[in-house]
Amino acid sequence: MTKNRIQRSALILAFAASTLALSACQNLSSPTVRFDRQVNYGDAKAVELVTNEFGSTDLQMIAEKMTGGLLETGIFQGRPTVTISTVKNKTSEYIDTTNVMSSIQTALVKSGKVRFVRSINEMQQGVDELQRQNQSGLYKQGTTAKVGQMTAAKYTMEGELTSIVKQNNSTKDVYYKFTLKLFDVQEGTIEWQDEKEIRKTSKR
């Protein structure tokens, strides 16, 4: 009688343990709203190898190399002012090269080692705001930003992206080269220059 009872309790225990284990292995639902199409968020910093056209990893690698090179040299001692000039795209692809410069600028601003002033493309908005404050008659005197007080850039940054593409029946090889120059505006001299080379090869 007691033997039977022990066996029964052992069976119940084993069932309970297996149920617990199974529920632990089961997938829980996630807080998502999704329909038929499979869409997922991925790692924005992951190596992107979809095609060998210019991609996010290329942009990130270029920005990191250029930022690292600039910070390492110590050219930014005393937090000088810098502005962004042109970025030429000399490749056969459509590439938003301002995006590369934007990433470099973000990293440099976050480093706290340099001050950026408005670039040519950003100047109109600055002028409009100054005019609104000084000419609209809407603002209290003494609170408006004064005209003629902007700080000029000591350095200007110029970049270019080039590519060499070679392909045969089975292989496509793309070589990218991004060159960045830092000019002293007053002197017109190149104070720093670096380049990042990238080779991407795809096979059919």
Binding site: S18, K45, V47, E64, G68, L71, G74
Partner: protein
């Protein structure tokens, strides 16, 4: 009765085995050629597959930490390494948004040097995150 007991306990055993397998797969197995001091700075995902970080040089240049690491392929087969540096401040918090992952091909018996520069002067320590494709 014993059969029933075994059947009921089987899923529990499978689950336990799975958990053990997963935890052992995530353990770091550095190549023996990686010095202990360097290994402490390397966060390896999975197995090293013959890739050793033989040397790591860290220097502060103009208030910014600069690191170079030598990755050596101890085998004759070419390996693909995915890596990135993670910069840490004086309390161990990550500095900046984190670097992008990079792909590096290390030829059989070859060596490659990778380099990185800290994003700000606040970085005082680093980890080299890497995984090696077989």
């Amino acid at each position: 009765m014993r059969n029933r007991f075994t059947l009921a306990a089987a899923p529990a055993l499978v689950c336990a085995a799975l958990i053990t397998l997963t935890s052992s797969a995530s353990a770091q197995q550095h190549d023996p050629a990686t010095p202990l001091a360097v290994a402490s700075k390397v966060a390896l995902r999975g197995e090293a597959n013959g890739i050793a970080v033989r040397e790591m040089r860290i220097v502060r240049k103009n208030d910014i930490l600069v690191v170079q690491a030598d990755m050596a392929n101890m085998g004759r087969t070419d390996r693909t390494v995915f890596y990135r540096f993670k910069w840490l401040d004086n309390v161990g918090n990550q500095v900046g948004d984190g670097e992008s992952w990079k792909q590096l091909s290390v030829l059989g018996l070859g060596q490659q040097t990778v380099k990185s520069v800290a994003p700000t002067g606040a970085a005082v320590d680093l980890r080299l995150e890497m995984n090696v494709e077989r």
